[in-house]
């Protein structure tokens, strides 16, 4: 039996001391959870995992569904879309379709992880290792999270947001608030500063500055729209060279919040709240493969370390491995269960192979990864975790071996061609291309249409023009008109959207049409 499990080991310490297992049954108690957590924490320290303090919350299945449906926010404002989420979650759960309800973790300080009371003890240990030490250390270590989110402030901010939204509902009516939120949600993915680091959220400051800001906001908006005769002689909208905004703006919600002429102050605040949340979730959307891969790698490694120390039994490991295997299961492209590349599998495979490249490098590894082959694996993994996002991580670390193991291939679909073409497979000539293509697939700006604020007709009909720059001639999808209606609701005047490819307008949308 031990042959099966003895691969991972702690740095420098390979002779395990025989220990009594912490427990042998599969029923958990709070005392046992505490003991497991303590031992897992010791193992995590051996591997230099640096984490926020943990808060483990034991909850029931219903509560887990609640948590799921608020997209992982422990406190959220009320909105029908969360109700919809809840209904579909609970349906999935009741039908037994929801297998992965075992983990939910929140990027906050302390880091909150939920354990379901239905889980067996090995599952609870797995979740603790995965969430409390895997995800948690990722939240604390990865540069995107460090730059873009403020773990210590998020809970307070959510409380503030919830309170603010419900006050608005009292004052302006549920429907009015709901409409505004609907529109903000439609543009939520475009409520993010991609390049500029945002100011950290702070509930205290928000509340404090709020009145001040209300006044200020309105004044600023008024300034923009004040008609000043003969500004600099270019009032003719055609010949006028100076556009507003002078540069295209990627953050649509921010632009609307600051410039929409007719919005009430509370509506601007709500836009701001949705924007802040979008910003908070932005790093998660860019690091799914890494984050899940990292957490999976560590639950695997930490629990094996526990096994080496004799802290857990063979039975425990069998149950754990069964769960682990299903987590990293990757159906092939032609399987009925296939729904894209499993981020757990991809991330876990890359991190695992990274360790192998350090510990047991082959000739191929020396050729592909001259800088890391044969180096200290722990150092390398920490470096990889801290300094990349999915796109660059794959570009940097996806090895030929992982491509071979997963049997990756790239297929091209061009609407000008009659057939699909296989452009690269997991072979010597294909590795580099395959890796680039896969990396690009995880580039957010490739996955989402590139749409920016292009101009506002400040002195004319006040219409807002958005510009879409297609990549590879891929047009906008069928929701576009609908989203534009939402943009129109917020902006208050005509909204135009033009797709501009190579200087030519290839497509146009207008609201009202």
């Amino acid at each position: 039996m031990s042959d099966v499990f003895d691969r991972p080991d702690a740095p420098g310490n390979t002779s395990p001391k025989p220990h009594e297992p912490i427990s042998t049954g599969s029923e958990w108690t709070f005392e046992l959870i505490r003991q497991y957590d303590e031992e897992i924490a010791k193992c995590a320290a051996e591997f230099r995992l640096d984490t926020y303090p943990n808060q483990v919350e034991v909850i029931s299945a219903e509560q887990m569904m609640d948590a799921y449906s608020s997209v992982g926010m422990p406190v959220g404002y009320n909105h029908w879309s969360f109700g919809k989420q809840f209904l579909s979650t609970s349906k999935g759960y009741q039908r037994g379709q929801m297998g992965l309800a075992y983990e939910l973790v929140i990027n906050s300080n302390p880091c909150i992880a939920y354990l379901m009371e239905e889980n067996t003890l090995p599952m609870q240990a797995l979740v603790i290792a995965h969430a409390c030490y895997g995800h948690n250390s990722f939240f604390k270590g990865n540069y995107l999270f460090r730059t873009w989110t403020d773990a210590s402030a998020i809970i307070d901010y959510l409380v503030f947001a919830r309170k603010y939204v419900s006050e608005c509902e009292e004052r302006y009516g549920v429907e009015a608030v709901e409409e505004t939120l609907d529109s903000c949600h439609a543009l939520m993915n475009y409520g993010v500063d991609r390049y500029k680091r945002p100011a950290p959220v702070s509930a205290h400051e928000e509340a404090h500055r709020q009145e001040e800001r209300e006044e200020y906001l309105q004044r600023r908006v008024n300034d923009l729209w004040r008609t000043i005769p003969k500004m600099d002689g270019d009032e003719d909208p055609v010949t006028r060279k100076k556009r507003y905004p002078e540069e295209p703006q990627e953050n649509l919600l921010y632009f609307i919040e600051k410039n929409a002429p007719l919005l009430e102050t509370w509506q601007r605040e709500i836009i701001r709240i949705v924007r802040k949340l979008a910003q908070y979730f932005y790093p998660q959307r860019q690091t799914q493969v890494m984050n899940e891969g990292w957490a999976t790698f560590w639950h695997y490694t930490l629990l094996h370390r526990m096994y080496e120390k004799g802290l857990v039994t063979d039975g425990f490991m069998l149950e754990f491995l069964q769960s682990h295997t299903s987590v990293v299961y990757q159906p092939a492209f032609d399987s009925p269960w296939y729904s894209g590349i499993n981020p757990y599998t991809l991330g876990f495979s890359i991190f695992t192979d990274l360790r192998r490249i350090c510990e047991e490098p082959t000739g191929e590894d020396y050729e592909w990864f001259p800088d890391i082959a044969g180096t200290d694996w722990l150092e390398t993994l920490h470096f990889a975790m801290a300094n990349f996002k999915d796109e660059s991580f794959i570009q940097q670390f996806l090895s030929p071996k992982v491509m071979r193991d997963l049997k990756l291939f790239a297929i091209e679909d061009d609407d000008l061609e009659d057939s699909y073409q296989i452009t690269a497979i997991h072979d010597e000539p294909g590795y580099r291309e395959l890796r680039e293509k896969l990396a690009r697939q995880y580039n957010l700006s490739y996955r989402e249409p590139n749409i920016q604020v292009w101009s506002v007709d400040v002195r004319g009909d006040r219409s807002l023009t958005l510009r879409h720059v297609p990549v590879d001639r891929v047009p906008l999808g069928k929701d576009t008109e609908e989203v534009l209606r939402h943009a129109h609701r917020l902006w208050g005047f005509d909204v135009h959207l033009e797709s501009v490819d190579d200087g030519d307008i290839v497509d146009e949308y207008h609201c009202p049409p």
């Binding site: 709070f30 505490r34 957590d37 984490t51 943990n54 808060q55 483990v56 919350e57 034991v58 909850i59 029931s60 219903e62 509560q63 609640d66 948590a67 449906s69 608020s70 009320n78 029908w80 879309s81 969360f82 109700g83 989420q85 809840f86 209904l87 579909s88 609970s90 349906k91 009371e117 409390c132 949600h185 492209f333 296939y338 729904s339 894209g340 049997k407 990756l408 291939f409 790239a410 297929i411 091209e412 679909d413 061009d414 609407d415 000008l416 009659d418 057939s419 073409q421 296989i422 497979i425 072979d427 989402e448 249409p449 001639r473 891929v474 906008l476 999808g477 929701d479 576009t480 989203v483």
Partner: protein
């Protein structure tokens, strides 16, 4: 490594999503109402009391976002290659480029489903079912009409029967009175006693003329007088007594009785009865939402009427002619003997195929107008027949003209109409 804090949250509220769920249902109430109304048609009678599956076209509840459409040039990486090599060409399936699957745009919910399906609970089901419906004369019976009373506490009074004496309150009052009356005197006594003590301890005056004896004597007399006074304050007095007071309050009737009257003569087929049953069921569920306690009385009749249990009511067969007044008479008798209108809200629903002895119909009209309708909150008559009306219907129309508030009649041709008819009967009357 940080300290881990383990919290048991299981006892915290689990319905955090309740508000959001309710918002969702409110937003899609039109879809849900339609599903509910379909369900009433479709469901078998025995299982009306549960939730319902509702499907909404997924398109209607989409939250739109900007995303890529079909077309252009795109490349995707997939796992699980077996026989492909670079440069292979694969035919596109017919009907345009690219299937939904294998596109980079896989929605986070998996494959696009056309329907968003979910469950509503029985309570929600009933709420939607009875949405906009108002119970006729739902205002509880006017207080002046009621003859049943309940006694409620209403403070204390100085008069009453010994049985209602509140000992604690009375003694508390007595204590306060004793303090009030005696306090000043007791204080005076203490002062006098202090003076006396001073005099006693003072050095004796040699001159008898200045002797303290008289003063002391005077003081002692006064003290004795005061003490006697204090002693005369009674421990408990008439005015201390407090009696618990009860007030007789009229009790609004919160129970209802529902009379189900059905013709079971030969002309009523099982289909007729099923239709009637659904109607009764709706009425029952409807009443259940408004009253704590509901009795149901089943009266079946052909030429004579009989009170029966539910099973017999719906499923045993009889043949013969029809005399509707027999059922009305029995109903009146039962009201008189078991359901005093002061305590019961009385509802009645009558189902029939419209047949009756022609001679009997005027009798029915008279029974209703004279004896029954003055006692009941609401009387609904449904005629289950696709054919023309007979005598009874016209008689009932006259009754309705007299009691527009509490009498209603409708015709049902097939089971699908029950719910609309039910709604029409119980429609919220414009104020």
């Amino acid at each position: 490594m940080g300290m881990t804090h383990i919290v048991d949250r299981r006892l915290n509220g689990k319905n955090k999503s309740a508000v959001n769920r309710e918002r969702f249902l409110r937003r899609y109430r039109h879809h849900i109402k339609k599903a509910v109304s379909d369900a009433v048609h479709r469901r078998s009678i025995t299982d009306i009391e549960r939730g319902e599956n509702v499907s909404i076209p997924a398109r209607d509840i989409d939250e739109p976002v900007f995303h890529h459409g079909q077309g252009g040039h795109r490349e995707m990486v997939h796992p699980g290659n077996r026989e492909f090599v670079a440069g292979d060409r694969l035919p596109k399936p017919d009907g345009g480029s690219g299937q939904g699957q294998g596109q980079g745009q896989a929605s986070p919910d998996g494959e696009g489903m056309d329907e968003f399906a979910f469950q509503i609970t029985q309570e929600e089901f009933l709420n939607f079912l009875f949405d906009d419906l108002e119970l006729p004369n739902l205002v509880r019976k006017q207080l002046k009409d009621t003859e049943s009373f309940t006694y409620v506490r209403s403070g204390f009074s100085t008069q009453g029967v010994p049985a209602k004496l509140d000992v604690v309150r009375s003694l508390r009052g007595a204590h306060a009175r004793r303090l009030g009356l005696g306090g000043a005197r007791k204080k005076k006594i203490r002062e006098l006693e202090a003076q006396r003590a001073d005099l006693l301890s003072a050095p004796a005056e040699l001159d008898a003329a200045f002797s303290h004896e008289d003063q002391i004597k005077a003081l002692e007399d006064e003290i004795a007088r005061l003490k006697a006074n204090v002693k005369r304050i009674p421990f408990i007095d008439e005015i201390d007594l407090r009696y618990r007071q009860h007030l007789k309050q009229p009790k609004p009737a919160t129970s209802a009785v529902m009379f189900c009257l059905m013709d079971v003569s030969g002309s009523m087929t099982q289909m007729h009865k099923d239709t009637a049953k659904r109607f009764f069921l709706l009425l029952y569920l409807f009443l259940k939402k408004s009253y704590k306690k509901i009795d149901v009385v089943f009266i079946r009749h052909h030429t004579s009427a009989k009170e029966v249990d539910e099973e017999e009511f719906f499923y045993s067969r009889e043949t013969g002619g029809t005399i509707v007044s027999s059922a009305l008479k029995l109903m009146h008798k039962i009201i008189k003997s078991r359901y005093p209108p002061a305590e019961w809200n009385i509802y009645a629903a009558q189902a029939s195929d419209g047949d009756n002895w022609n001679d009997d119909s005027p009798a029915c009209g008279k029974l209703l107008t004279d004896s029954i309708l003055p006692l009941v909150q609401y009387y609904a008559y449904v005629e289950i027949t696709p054919q023309d009306h007979q005598m009874l219907w016209y008689e009932y129309e006259r009754v309705q003209a007299l009691f527009p508030e509490s009498f209603a009649l409708q015709q049902i041709a097939d089971p699908g109409e029950i719910y609309p008819v039910f709604r029409r009967l119980f429609e919220r009357k414009a104020a």
